[in-house]
């Protein structure tokens, strides 16, 4: 997949949604991954899991639908869909850790070539650490997709040979979706470029020590 321009968050969310198999059970992380739900149609027949204890989560609640007992992992009031189920936290995380979720989509500070994920802690000494369900999600789902910008504001590439931020999980990310391209990762460290947006393969290669495999033509 090649595009002349960098893609915006919504377009990227639409691309991710298109890669989710119909009938999947999916967990969408807080922030950018939440946008994916806007592009999951009835044909997708996707069931959303939220780690605070629900399968069949619906869209955000509006006005008189708002119910303080019905919230998502970001503590935002949501709705329930027909066929929804509630369960306690140990069951909810058994759904993850037990490998029952097909896909989870997470944000990240950094992703390494071997699929290590860093998304919970900047490592800054004065930061108050908070992890929530990130570490369980990272190692739990069959497929872990990450959505993030490929570069920091300072132009540093966030797909790195080895993560410098504290890790969330080791070798867990299978696909990386960014504003500048799509990457398939493997534990061996082979990074296959599946798409490039507003960047040539040569430009990408010049910004990283990772030896990329060009599969943008496939």
């Amino acid at each position: 997949m090649l595009r002349d321009e960098r893609v915006d968050r919504n377009t990227l969310a639409e691309i991710v949604a298109g890669d989710i198999e119909p009938g999947s059970f999916v967990n969408l992380g807080i922030g950018q991954p939440t946008l994916v739900s806007n592009y999951l149609t009835a044909e997708h027949d996707v069931t959303l899991h939220t780690e605070n204890g629900m399968l069949g989560m619906g869209r955000a609640a509006e006005e008189d639908e708002i119910d303080g007992d019905l919230i998502n992992a970001g503590k935002i009031p949501v709705t329930e869909t027909p066929g929804a189920a509630f369960f306690h936290q140990a069951d909810s995380f058994a759904i993850m850790r037990g490998g029952h979720l097909d896909v989870c989509v997470l944000g990240a500070f950094q992703v390494s070539a071997t699929g290590d994920l860093a998304n919970w802690h900047t490592g800054a000494p004065d930061a108050i650490p908070a992890v929530g369900g990130a570490m369980d999600l990272a190692i739990g789902a069959k497929q872990v997709y990450v959505m993030m910008n490929l570069f920091t504001r300072d132009g540093e590439i966030k797909l790195v040979p080895e993560a410098t931020y504290p890790l969330t999980g080791v070798g867990c990310v299978s696909r990386l979706y960014t504003d500048h391209g799509i990457f398939e990762l493997s534990e061996s460290g082979t990074v296959t470029v599946k798409g490039l947006f507003g960047l040539t393969f040569e430009q990408l290669q010049s910004k990283s020590d990772i030896e990329f495999v060009d599969a943008t033509g496939n």
């Binding site: 939220t50 780690e51 605070n52 204890g53 629900m54 008189d64 119910d67 303080g68 007992d69 019905l70 919230i71 998502n72 503590k75 329930e80 509630f86 369960f87 306690h88 936290q89 140990a90 909810s92 995380f93 993850m96 850790r97 290590d116 802690h121 108050i128 650490p129 908070a130 992890v131 929530g132 369900g133 990130a134 570490m135 369980d136 190692i139 739990g140 504290p166 890790l167 969330t168 999980g169 080791v170």
Partner: protein, 234 residues
């Protein structure tokens, strides 16, 4: 035997200083605000609190932290836009934090209630939250040894109960309640409504009465929300 008391103050009257208290709730959903309020009034101090979060805004757990009643908190996500009382206590070095991934927190509570000595979890392997912990490779996968979290007391919020102490919860307010009810020496429950024994379908009970020690009926917004939902269905 489940003891039914008349007020939140009576329900928490026997909580000692220095207790480890498991408090249900994910954010404010399922947080037993009235029991926490009574605990605050009662003056118990030097507490260790186990909760998913570290309090929000100016209510519930946040006030216990504000009043410096909490020496240590075991939680997964203390940092929120409105967790200012925790932030202040933490930055002043006046509260100890044990950060636990959410699924490990739930499972450590479950293990405590189920009599499991310890368990190997894949969560957190290779991260700083597993530093110093025993690890093992099992069938090609790496795991971290995690120990149970036992409480002296659990404070939880349920939706409906019968007089025997069987409990039902409401929506995502269930969260940590069922595990915490099993993991403490004494489980204290605030519930919207206590019905006569036999009123609840035994097939639907989430927490069986054996875990419920003290119960108090306190109507909260949950009742109004449930009534609104029922009205919308009719």
């Amino acid at each position: 035997m489940t003891k039914i008391v008349e007020s939140a103050a009576q329900a928490v009257a026997n909580i000692d200083d220095g207790s480890t208290i498991l408090i249900g709730g994910f954010g404010n959903a399922g947080q037993p605000m009235e029991l926490i309020g009574a605990l605050l009034e009662g003056g118990a101090k030097n507490l260790t609190i186990v909760n998913n979060n570290a309090g929000q805004a100016d209510e519930g757990l946040a006030l216990l932290i504000k009043e410096r009643r909490v020496d240590k908190i075991i939680c997964s996500f203390p940092r929120q836009s409105d967790s200012w009382h925790f932030d202040e206590a933490y930055r002043a070095g006046e509260i100890e934090l044990e950060l636990v991934p959410q699924g490990n927190l739930a499972e450590r509570l479950r293990a405590a209630g189920a009599g499991i000595g310890a368990f190997f979890s894949p969560t957190g392997y290779g991260t700083m939250l597993a530093e110093g912990k025993e690890t093992r490779e099992i069938n090609g996968r790496n795991y971290v040894l995690e120990y149970p979290i036992h409480g002296d007391v659990a404070l939880i919020k349920a939706f409906k109960a019968d007089e025997k102490g069987n409990l039902l919860y409401r929506k995502t307010a269930r969260n940590f309640g069922p595990m915490m009810a099993t993991a403490a020496k004494q489980t204290i429950v605030q519930v919207e409504e206590i019905l006569p024994t036999g009123s609840l379908d035994p097939e639907n009970i989430v927490t069986p009465s054996i875990y419920t020690d003290v119960m108090v009926a306190i109507e909260t917004e949950s009742s109004a929300l449930a009534a609104r939902e029922q009205g919308a269905k009719n």
